[in-house]
Symmetry: C2
Subunit: 193 residues, 2 copies
Amino acid sequence: MPLPEDEANELLLLGLLRRGPTHGYALNVLIAHDWDTCAALKKPTAYYLLKRMAQKGWVTWNKDHPARGLQRRIYRLTPEGEHAFWQLLRKNLSDYHPIYFAGDIGLSFLDALSPHEARDLLQKRLAQIQARRLALENAPAHAGAAALALEHQRYHLAAEAHWLEHVLETLTTYISSQEDIHGYPQPDSIEPA
Amino acid sequence: MPLPEDEANELLLLGLLRRGPTHGYALNVLIAHDWDTCAALKKPTAYYLLKRMAQKGWVTWNKDHPARGLQRRIYRLTPEGEHAFWQLLRKNLSDYHPIYFAGDIGLSFLDALSPHEARDLLQKRLAQIQARRLALENAPAHAGAAALALEHQRYHLAAEAHWLEHVLETLTTYISSQEDIHGYPQPDSIEPA
DNA sequence: ATTCAAATAGTCAATTTTGACTATTTTGAA
DNA sequence: TTCAAAATAGTCAAAATTGACTATTTGAAT
């Protein structure tokens, strides 16, 4: 039983090969350009998966013999690969793939820091989210295929920004209440000896 | 330069050890119970990371000698480990960690299916999201620590559900318009030979 | 004509991850 | 008390992942 991401990556490669026989470089460039928002598939991993799918009989390759230029492998889908594509697509669409937020670990230990420092750090995080949102707004609308994925990523980032803003509001309110009590701002926490 | 998830997992282990010396089993049970919504850290990986952090001088362990019961390692934080905790915490909080949705790969190839089948499959996905939301609503509010992470996961799942509902609405509208044109529902697509 | 950068096409060693496994101790039911 | 299941504590071989590397070809500037 492979991981869900593993299956998704295989699905991506099969889906791209379904458009027609392709060589490895084109696959990797396409993934890095048009799927950069939803796939973290590095080049060596792509070649590894292609080899593995070849063993499963889903893809084959043959060397081309260009009159000029580098010799290279032309990968193509087999009928079994076409079948696998449909199965993986149906599974991918019908399953929910849980998300783990690496950033939530830090939030779990937020109370180890002073509210002031926590707020400053999270504001940096929020700025990065907003920068990413801006970048995606200005991104050229990837024709058809990845459009839904792009819309999803935008929607997600908007939700992330809203949620972080809410957290920051809570923190700021707390800081204000502390200032009221003590009459002066709290110093930043120093790492205990 | 380690991966962000890697750093987050180290941060988690350090943060737990910061509460006091602990043996491996307790760490793993805690992670599986209280951090299951934000960390995908398996037992062998946890032991691997503990060993690696021991090499970095961040943690040490000594065997205990219980009068009865299994002998086991008691892991504890070194001063260097305490220092590393602060560094990793600050980095984790101030950085945004991009998310890759495995489910977006399938969405990119949605047009390979009939709108009818696509709708049915995505409705299954939505049902799973709603089930997970319900489970999290009824989850016992993990005391303090992971509360923010839980809130985040809830917020995220609500956004996911809303977005999928929007996609499904678009699909359904499209299906209706097709029915208007043809006067009868489209048959489910058959996998091409 | 030469040279330097970029595009093309992958490979490999080292690291990371995990499913499956071993082994002992405690608990609780019959 | 006896036996089985669950809790406890970790290990290991196999698989997956990737940073860094090699090597050739093309394009463009000089």
